[in-house]
């Protein structure tokens, strides 16, 4: 049985009266990509910043590479790398200078030129930080996280606010790191990010982990249902739709309904009959396997980006 490189036990953190973490526990194996998935305010960043040694928990225990992040000091920082959610560099700092400077802080370091090439920043080596696009800034942040060849990487919402094209570029980079068997803890509120990148995911809400497992396990656990997205010409009652044959659950969103069915053909037939009898019309229908978003909705009754 392999041991966890990251161990978190009953972690609690309050900001005044606000309980940001309410007893979070999880473990991450070496070489694993572990995701904390949840909406804003779920406590993901607080958890990661405690693991990075940037915040002190109120209670609970944390161990990364066998060290306590808070008391580990410089030796601990030598082992980790990270991309913070909100951070910056001085506007007039050049790309290569930033990598050289941060590499200089560590005993083990990677060549600036290699990092610039790997992250597609070679042509920007002499550019000021203020002259970089959002995607380039994020690639530089990722490169800086790797200057010390860390054992464990923490990526806090690494693609937040980036356009889809840049997001995909960042995914490619993280997938490369995954293939190199780096241990990565990533926080995100993007479903596709968690599904594509993570070996295991913990779904967080209101300072707690409400479910964890591989993306496949989580989706399978979603009551073994199929997701049917229904758009109607006129609004209908959720309770009525829940009563149709084969329906396990139904929720209403902005003008459409997500129906979880255990028997798709029977549910569709029942739906069509119901609409005929009420004089309503079907404006659209889409069938899909459940996503992590469905799992989240099932568990919390809310969408991830609500």
């Amino acid at each position: 049985m392999s041991t966890s490189i990251i161990e978190v036990q009953d972690l609690k953190k309050n900001y005044g009266a606000v309980e940001a973490l309410r007893g979070v526990s999880f473990g991450v194996q070496e070489g694993e990509v572990f995701g904390l998935l949840g909406p804003n305010g779920a406590g993901k960043t607080t958890a990661v910043e405690i693991l990075e040694g940037l915040r002190q928990p109120n209670s609970g225990s944390v161990s990364v590479c066998g060290m306590d992040p808070l008391s580990g000091g410089k030796s601990y920082k030598e082992l980790i790398g990270g991309v913070l959610q909100s951070t910056a560099l001085p506007e007039k700092m050049k790309v290569a200078e930033a990598l050289d400077l941060f590499a200089g802080f560590y005993h083990r370091k990677r060549s600036t030129n290699d990092l610039l090439k790997r992250f597609g920043l070679a042509e920007k080596r002499g550019a000021f930080y203020s002259q970089l696009s959002g995607g380039q800034k994020q690639r530089l942040a990722l490169a800086m996280a790797l200057v010390n060849e860390p054992r464990v990487l923490f990526f806090d919402e690494p693609t937040a606010g980036l356009d889809p094209q840049v997001r995909r570029e960042i995914y490619d980079i993280i997938e490369e790191l995954k293939s190199e068997k780096k241990t990565i803890l990533i926080t995100t509120h993007y479903i596709e990010e968690a599904e594509r990148l993570c070996d295991r995911v913990a779904i967080m809400d209101a300072g707690q982990i409400i479910k964890s497992g591989t993306p496949r396990e989580l989706k399978q656990a979603s009551a073994g249902t199929t997701r049917i997205e229904v758009r109607l010409a006129r609004p209908d009652s959720v309770e009525t739709l829940k009563g149709l044959e084969g329906v396990a659950d139904c929720r209403e969103f902005d003008g459409y309904y997500v129906v979880h069915s255990k028997a798709v053909p029977k549910t569709i037939v029942a739906l069509v009959k119901h609409l005929e009898s009420t004089g309503n019309e079907l404006a659209g229908l889409e069938i899909a396997t459940p996503t992590l978003e469905d799992v989240f909705i099932e568990l919390t009754g809310r969408r991830l980006r609500d």
Binding site: K77, S86, P90, K92, M93, G104, F105
Partner: protein, 301 residues
């Protein structure tokens, strides 16, 4: 130390690329030089070195303003957070800020001396070793004072407000701009307790009296004491994150930096008449012993 050196080099590069920094650390001090020596002195050869000392003191004091603003700006922008994730200590950042500022202040002071001699034909430039030591210790002291302001304020607005108040007091009540003889009896009592006063007096004694470092021991001790207290406190109260707020107690702790100057002020007020000393500088370029002035008066022409 490796980190502090790397950060110092980086800070110096950044400062050299910052137009605001170049304006405040080079253009403005030189502006003061031309204003004081070219306009206010009215060509009086006795007053030129007195005013040169004031200009050098203002240049050194400028480190106070620059560092506090820089540090708060870095904290608010989230730059300090990134350093925190690396094996960098608060003291590395603070030391590098002071050294970088010092290394970029020295050329300005040298340039001021060269211009004073070449353009304004200042007859005496005094004891340069003392001037150098005073510039070094003064920069460290005032830069550390700036750092502690940055450590106990929560926003840039708050920093700017406190800076404005303290800077105005240091600039106008210390003899750095307005000679002490023009300030009136009660205001000059405040001057006895200001670090800036002793910086100005120290430079005046070094330039006009050719005073050696040993003659300025109380001034050096006070500047070093204040600098050390300010540095230690700012390292203790250092905050990396914009959302970490300074506790109210921290502001009270910051007041501890004035202790050395309270002691020096108490001692000096019993032994030295700074007003009459200031008067003597303006009367004769410091060639005569100080005499107590009867009434406040403007510098002679």
């Amino acid at each position: 130390m490796r980190n502090a050196i790397a950060l110092t080099v980086s800070r110096m590069r950044l400062m050299m690329r910052n137009k605001m920094f170049l304006f405040f650390s080079l253009v403005m001090p030189l502006g003061f030089l031309f204003l004081f020596l070219g306009v206010f002195s009215r060509g009086n050869p006795f007053i030129l070195p007195v005013m040169l000392a004031q200009v050098i003191a203002i240049t050194v004091m400028g480190n106070y303003w620059g560092l506090s603003v820089q540090l708060v700006m870095f904290r608010e922008a989230g730059i300090l957070r990134r350093y925190r994730l690396a094996p960098v200590r608060a003291s590395d950042l603070l030391i590098s800020s002071i050294i970088a500022n010092y290394l970029l202040t020295l050329p300005t002071i040298i340039l001021e001396f060269v211009l004073a001699r070449v353009v304004f034909h200042v007859l005496t430039i005094g004891n340069l070793a003392t001037v150098f030591l005073l510039s070094t210790v003064g920069t460290i002291c005032f830069a550390s004072m700036g750092l502690i302001i940055a450590s106990v304020t929560n926003t840039m607005q708050e920093t700017q407000l406190i800076n404005q108040v303290i800077w105005s007091v240091l600039l106008f009540l210390s003899g750095a701009t307005l000679p002490l003889v023009t300030l009136g009896k009660h205001i000059t009592q405040i001057a006895y307790y200001l670090p800036a006063t002793y910086l100005v007096v120290g430079f005046q004694r070094a330039i006009l009296h050719h005073a050696g470092a040993l003659e300025l021991i109380p001034i050096f001790i006070s500047l070093i004491g204040t600098g050390a207290i300010a540095f230690i406190l700012s390292a203790q109260l250092f905050r990396w994150d914009p959302d970490e707020k300074a506790p109210r107690k921290a502001k009270l702790w910051a007041l501890a930096i004035i202790i050395p100057f309270l002691a020096l002020g108490y001692w000096e007020s019993g032994h030295v008449n700074l007003v009459s000393e200031s008067q003597s500088f303006f009367d004769s370029g410091g060639q005569q012993r100080p005499q107590a002035p009867q009434t406040p008066q403007a510098p002679p022409q």
